[in-house]
């Protein structure tokens, strides 16, 4: 059994960028400009339907790399780096990678689930 991705709540700015996160019961705020890209999906393996009209989000999914600081944390608190994925069309967010600056390791979570 792999580890599964975790749900996360994301609040966006007016321009559509992530601003606040609610994760594992704690609130975080972006501390640097996020980087966005799309990652390819092998939808023909993962999906059972691709009906015309329901193709958005099949080929790729949106990834955001955010650097956040815990709300209320001291200014010296190390930044936490997370990779988030946004699923279309529902607009759900999940965490798929956690960069642990202290231990210099990356925990990759299985997407899906």
């Amino acid at each position: 059994m792999g580890t599964f991705s975790e749900g996360i709540e994301v609040w966006l700015t007016a321009a559509g960028l992530p601003l606040h996160l609610l994760w594992r019961g704690r609130r975080y705020t972006l501390a640097a400009d996020p980087v966005r890209w799309y990652e390819r999906r092998n939808w023909w393996d993962e999906e059972t339907r691709a009906a015309p009209g329901a193709g958005a989000g099949l080929v790729d999914r949106e990834i955001w790399r955010v650097q956040v600081r815990r709300d209320g944390g001291a200014s010296g608190t190390p930044l936490l780096t997370l990779d988030l994925v946004r699923y279309l069309p529902a607009g759900r967010w999940r965490v798929i990678k956690i960069y642990d600056a202290l231990r210099e390791s990356v925990e990759e979570l299985e997407p899906g689930a």
Binding site: E39, T48, A50, L58
Partner: protein
């Protein structure tokens, strides 16, 4: 929000690349507020004209460009095998977009011309990839006249520069960029900055977009923003993946270079602005940089805005120059003179009123032609037509061109429009300025020769072939979708074979409705059950749902272009400035435009259609004269009429050559043959529905044939004119006219409106409008936006002229139902000529005619059915014989039997022996006759497998027989086959070949004369099986003959016995499928027509819903069928079958037992053809008709609908 103009967008016409139709792209851009949009298809301008049309309709400016590969000498020489002339092997080094400049800063048309010429250059390499070397590109970007930049090259994310950027390389991209900047003239280069937001650092990522932007700045080249569009919206991204897989012929999981993300859609201005901000942001630039990028984009867009009229010559007809046509005087004057001369030729001795009438008609036509400026068009067509005639090739004008007296007197058409009451206004009128279509039918076998001659005559700069787009249909779509999903090809193929006549786009709907898809639908459903996901091959059935979805996605998308079957484009010397060309399969250049683009581009298209029937008839005439080389012999053989002095008719020449076009159109034996309904092989009247119709209407004269052919169209069917016509004709009901005034217009069809011409006359009579105006009205019928206007005009003016409301209502109902579907009488008349001629040949020279049919295979049926027809007619089918057979099917006199006369048979041809190459065939024929097997081996050098096939087909029997006559040997064909099989494989080394002049020892008869007689002779059934395998036809006996005992046991009725049965008799019939037809579903339930041949003739069976349900997968896949059904009399000479149930004859275990027809448990239909029973009403309803008692005609109408859709001209 600022507007945005996309400069880089591929349409669906970029085969296997683009996803969206030009209309949709343009609409999306316009909806977003854009005032222009570029179309940049891959490798050509395939979608350009459609794009311009769509832009004009949406009120935005079109931009045109192309997405082309740049070629450079390959570094891995030898590996790709693509050798370009002289520079060695060329390979693709990235792709760029090339945009045409418009009239803003350039001579009008110069940008578009430069684009066309460059694209043609990119396709001009005889082998290797399509594309340009940098040098070729640089040489073509300026206007040769002014030296001004005519094109802009966009270096974008697919260019070699962008490709060199991976891995943070510094020098390589800069070297490449310098090359571009140094090679291309100033003002022709721009950088296209694109991000599809793929993973940072990878192709199409923002990182690379930033680097491109910086490079542009560094080199002082303007940068523009783009999105390298492949589809309209995000929903279409998966379709692009499937197209990539289809292009690579590789399952999705293994396709190299799939799009990294699904972001290549036509993003709106807001999304593009955001993208731009993200790019400049990541590059560390300010908003000012974004404003600059944005402004550059629009500056370039403005430079490339095209004006359709001045840049493309929109809708301005162009014909070859007067000089090319050899004119020393204005075209109009020339045309007059030639028409005058032709008038005397066509109507010799005509005088008085009739001459005056012909002259008036000619004057009227000429005035219209000259007013439209089309004189040179008619002269051009006349020139081509005359050129074909002097080549000795049969030709006939088809279509509405037959309406024109000018065409008749110029010799273009063979139909007299005055005698046949044809209206010029239907063909050409002042109210319409598009070039008319004149179509020429020529012998199919000579078509390519004709094309080459047209190129020679007018010069390659003025002629090109037209192309056609081939889109995905259901079967191809499901195959490519299956390939993309990596499914088992055999499984996919099995599914594909069940798809029948529906668009791929409604696959899921079809799953519910079509009985033949029942099995597949069940599999899909099963796969949807939880737990079914993990099938035998991992995903198993779970893919079936995807298969259906992807098939629907591929629906109609263009796959490739090919040569149109008949279109030749003729223009002046500027033709290649206005269309890019590429090689066709024929070696002649082909335009990238299709028939829908012709009118818009002012291109003169001449349809030179190869018609196999014309070849078959020419062949038959040659065979007649070959066997009967004098007039007297031909007259005797064909039972042609002889006058008092013993002279045969004038249409048979002294040398025996028949002039088909001179045969009078009133030959009684010909009409007798047509009325017999044994019209297999006759042009236009051989289909099941047509056989039924000619049986019902019993044609007596040529005009009947015109009516017959014209009735056989959806229009007459839809407006319910078939039945009243037949009833009035038979005298069952008096002809009815809505008003006596209409009698002159409608009398020839007993009051029923059949022809376009009659619609024109009706409108003319009742409203007083001109005939040309009437034709415009006719064109408006059936069009939702125009029909109300026509209706209003008709009602108002008819009322003003005093027609009663009832009359107006009745006539309007007829006109409305007629819609735009009806048939032009000129079409019917043009078609009726070869129909009559082919029936005439079948009536008088059947063996030669059938030989022509076998040779050129012109009809809707497999050749083996026409072989069966020969057998039915008592024409001997002469077996394949290595000494008597040639490379073609030849008529042959058979020796007279004792006391009888010899008859003409048909000798089978070597050309259809499976696997026999053209060279082998030529060698065999050149060496004939052979006196022994050894002789055949040594001189014809036939390979062993072919020798074996020849033995199996009995082609060596004559050699064996002559050896046996000498020796008394008793071996049979099986022994011979075994002997041939045992011979050593032929040696091909020179040394073993006989020396020139050296003769083989005359030992041949020893070889065949000493064969051991060991094996049982092949049975007739085995022989027939072999013939079907190796010749694709059953020659020795009918395929069904071997089933005779089984069929007798079952109590099967043969086709020839059906006519003697009472209506509504329950029977079993059996046969080989020869035709399957399905009318389009238009509400109601589908009807399937299946015709089988049992050796005594055809049985035409109709499967309604319940019978289809019972037959399921048998409906379309099975070759040999047993059918239970009820007879239905369709006319004095016709009978068909309402099928109740069907079985596969090849599966004896599933067949019913003897006495099945008495089995009380056999299923019955709830509907019944007997009109006295309640079901009749239901049947009639199913056929879309009113009361019982009409089903026969109603069913015929359905049949006619499907067939006329299949055969519809043009």
């Amino acid at each position: 929000m600022p507007k945005f103009v996309h400069l880089h967008a591929a349409s669906a016409y970029s085969a296997h690349y683009g996803v969206s139709w030009p209309d949709d792209l343009v609409q999306a851009a316009a909806d977003d507020g854009a005032d222009a949009l570029a179309s940049t298809d891959r490798d050509g301008l395939y979608g350009a004209v459609k794009h311009v049309k769509a832009c004009m309709a949406a009120g935005i400016d079109p931009l045109l460009g192309v997405d082309l590969a740049i070629l450079e000498p390959s570094k891995t020489a030898g590996s790709s095998g693509n050798t370009g002339s002289p520079g060695g092997i060329l390979a693709e080094a990235g792709r760029v977009v090339i945009l045409a400049h418009g009239g803003q800063a350039l001579r009008h048309g110069a940008g578009y011309t430069a684009l066309c010429r460059l694209i043609s250059t990119a396709h001009a390499r005889p082998r290797g990839p399509v594309g340009l070397t940098l040098a070729q590109l640089a040489a073509g970007v300026l206007d040769p006249e002014t030296g001004a930049p005519a094109l802009t090259v966009l270096l974008g994310p697919f260019s070699d520069v962008a490709r060199a950027m991976g891995g943070r390389r510094y020098l390589l991209p800069r070297t490449k960029f310098s090359t571009w900047r140094d090679t291309l003239p100033a003002g022709t280069l721009a950088v296209e900055v694109v991000s599809h937001f793929s993973e940072p650092g990878s192709p199409l990522s923002t990182t690379l977009a930033v680097r491109m932007l910086k490079l542009a700045e560094e080199f002082g080249v303007p940068a523009v923003l783009g999105n390298a569009v492949r589809y309209c919206g995000e929903d279409d991204a998966p379709t692009a993946d499937v197209l990539d897989a289809a292009r690579a012929i590789t399952p999705l999981g293994r396709v190299p270079g799939l799009q990294p993300t699904g972001q290549g859609w036509l993003k709106g201005a807001a999304a593009m602005y955001r993208a731009g901000r993200e790019i400049v942001g990541q590059g560390g630039y300010s908003v000012a940089e974004l404003e600059q990028l944005w402004a550059n984009t629009h500056r370039l867009a403005d430079k490339c805005r095209l004006d359709p009229a001045s840049d493309l010559g929109w809708k301005k007809p162009v014909t070859p120059e007067a000089g090319v046509l050899g004119l020393a005087q204005p075209a109009a004057v020339e045309l007059w003179q030639r028409a005058e001369a032709g008038l005397n030729l066509r109507f010799p001795g005509l005088g008085g009123d009739r001459l005056a009438a012909a002259r008036d008609r000619l004057t009227m036509e000429m005035e219209t032609i000259n007013e439209l400026g089309f004189a040179s068009y008619f002269l051009t067509v006349a020139e081509v037509s005359e050129m074909i005639r002097t080549m000795g090739v049969r030709r006939a004008a088809r279509g509405s061109g037959a309406s024109s007296l000018v065409n008749y007197v110029l010799g273009i058409s063979a139909v007299d429009p005055i005698a046949n009451d044809l209206l010029f206004e239907r063909f050409l009128s002042r109210d319409r300025s598009t070039l008319p279509d004149i179509d020429l039918d020529v012998e199919s076998a000579e078509r390519h020769k004709v094309y080459h001659r047209i190129f020679e005559r007018f010069g390659p700069e003025r002629v090109t072939l037209m192309s056609m787009q081939n889109g995905y249909r259901a079967r191809g779509a499901v195959r490519d979708a299956g390939l993309a999903l990596g499914m088992d090809p055999e499984d996919v193929d099995g599914i594909a074979k069940q798809l029948w006549r529906f668009s791929a786009g409604s696959f899921r709907e079809a799953l519910v409705e079509k009985p033949e898809l029942r099995d597949f639908a069940a599999r899909v459903e099963q796969a949807q059950q939880p737990g079914a996901r993990e099938g035998r091959d991992g995903r198993g059935g779970a893919q079936l749902d995807l298969l259906v979805d992807l098939t629907e996605r591929l629906d109609r998308l263009p796959r490739h272009i090919s040569m149109h079957p008949c279109g030749v484009i003729l223009g002046d010397s500027s033709l290649l400035d206005r269309t890019p060309v590429q090689a066709s399969g024929l070696g002649l250049p082909m335009s990238q435009f299709d028939k829908h683009d012709m009118d818009a581009m002012g291109m003169l298209k001449l349809d030179v259609l190869g018609v196999r029937m014309q070849s078959a008839m020419a062949y038959a005439v040659r065979e007649v004269v070959r066997l009967h080389p004098s007039k007297a012999e031909v007259v005797a053989a064909g039972s042609h009429p002889v006058d008092g002095g013993g002279q045969g008719p004038a249409y048979v020449g002294e040398d025996g050559l028949i002039d088909l076009d001179a045969v009078p159109l009133d030959d009684e034996p010909t009409f007798e043959l047509i009325r017999s309904t044994h019209t297999l092989g006759c042009f236009q009247i051989e289909s099941p529905g047509q056989r039924e119709l000619v049986g019902k209407m019993a044609p007596r004269e040529f005009n009947d044939l015109i009516i017959d052919i014209s009735l056989f169209r959806p229009g007459p069917m839809k407006s319910n004119m078939v039945k009243p016509y037949l009833e009035n004709r038979a005298g069952f009901a008096p002809a009815h006219y809505a008003h006596p005034d209409l009698k002159p217009a409608l009398a020839e069809t007993h009051g029923v409106t059949v022809f376009h011409e009659q619609v024109l006359r009706t409108l003319h009579i009742m409203t007083g409008c001109t005939l040309s105006r009437a034709d415009e009205f006719r064109r408006g019928l059936g069009k939702p936006d125009q029909e109300p206007v026509v209706e209003k005009y008709f009602r108002t003016h008819a009322r003003q002229r005093g027609y009663s409301t009832e009359t107006i209502e009745e006539v309007w109902d007829t006109l409305k139902a007629f819609g735009s579907f009806g048939f032009c009488k000129a079409h019917g008349a043009a078609f009726a000529v070869p129909t009559y001629q082919s029936a005439w040949l079948k009536a008088h020279h059947p063996a030669e005619f059938l030989a022509g049919l076998w040779e050129h295979d012109p009809g809707m049926y497999p050749r083996r059915l026409l072989v069966a027809e020969a057998r039915r007619m008592g024409i001997p089918i002469l077996p394949l014989d290595v000494n008597a057979s040639a490379g073609c099917y030849r008529a042959e006199r058979t020796p007279a039997a004792a006391g009888g006369e010899g008859v003409t048979g048909i000798r089978l041809s070597l050309s259809d022996v499976y696997g026999l190459s053209g060279t082998e065939l030529k060698r065999i024929v050149a060496g004939q006759p052979y006196d022994s097997l050894a002789d055949l081996r040594s001189r014809a050098k036939v390979s062993r497998p072919i020798l074996k096939r020849l033995a199996q087909l009995g082609a060596l029997d004559s050699l064996q027989r002559s050896a046996q006559q000498l020796t008394g040997n008793t071996a049979n064909r099986a022994d011979l086959i075994a002997h041939v099989n045992s011979m050593p494989a032929s040696k091909t080394s020179r040394r073993s070949e006989a020396m020139e002049g050296q003769l083989h020892l005359p030992l041949g008869e020893l070889e065949l004369g000493t064969l051991a007689a060991r094996l049982p002779a092949p049975t007739l059934a085995e022989t027939v099986r072999t013939e079907l395998d190796l010749l694709a036809l059953d020659a020795s006996a009918h395929l069904m003959d071997s089933y005779a005992p089984l069929l007798a046991q079952l109590g099967v009725t043969t086709s020839d016995k059906l006519l003697g049965l009472r209506n509504n008799t329950e029977v079993l019939v059996a046969g080989v499928r020869v035709a399957t037809q399905t009318p389009p579903m238009r509400g109601g339930r589908r009807v399937v027509f299946i015709s089988v041949d049992d050796g005594t003739g055809c049985v035409d069976a109709t499967f309604f819903h319940e019978a289809q349900e019972r037959s399921g997968p048998l409906l379309f896949g099975t070759r040999m069928l047993l059918i239970r059904g009820l007879t239905r009399r369709t006319g004095p000479r016709g009978i068909s079958l309402q099928a109740l149930e069907a079985w596969d004859l090849a599966r004896p275990e599933a067949l019913p037992g003897p006495g099945y027809l008495q089995d009380p448990g056999r299923p019955q239909d709830s509907r019944h053809p007997d009109s006295s029973r309640a079901g009749g009403r239901e049947l009639a309803r199913e056929l879309g008709r009113g009361t019982p008692g009409q089903q026969s005609t109603a069913e015929l109408a359905r049949r006619m609908e499907v067939e006329s859709l299949d055969h519809r001209a043009g």
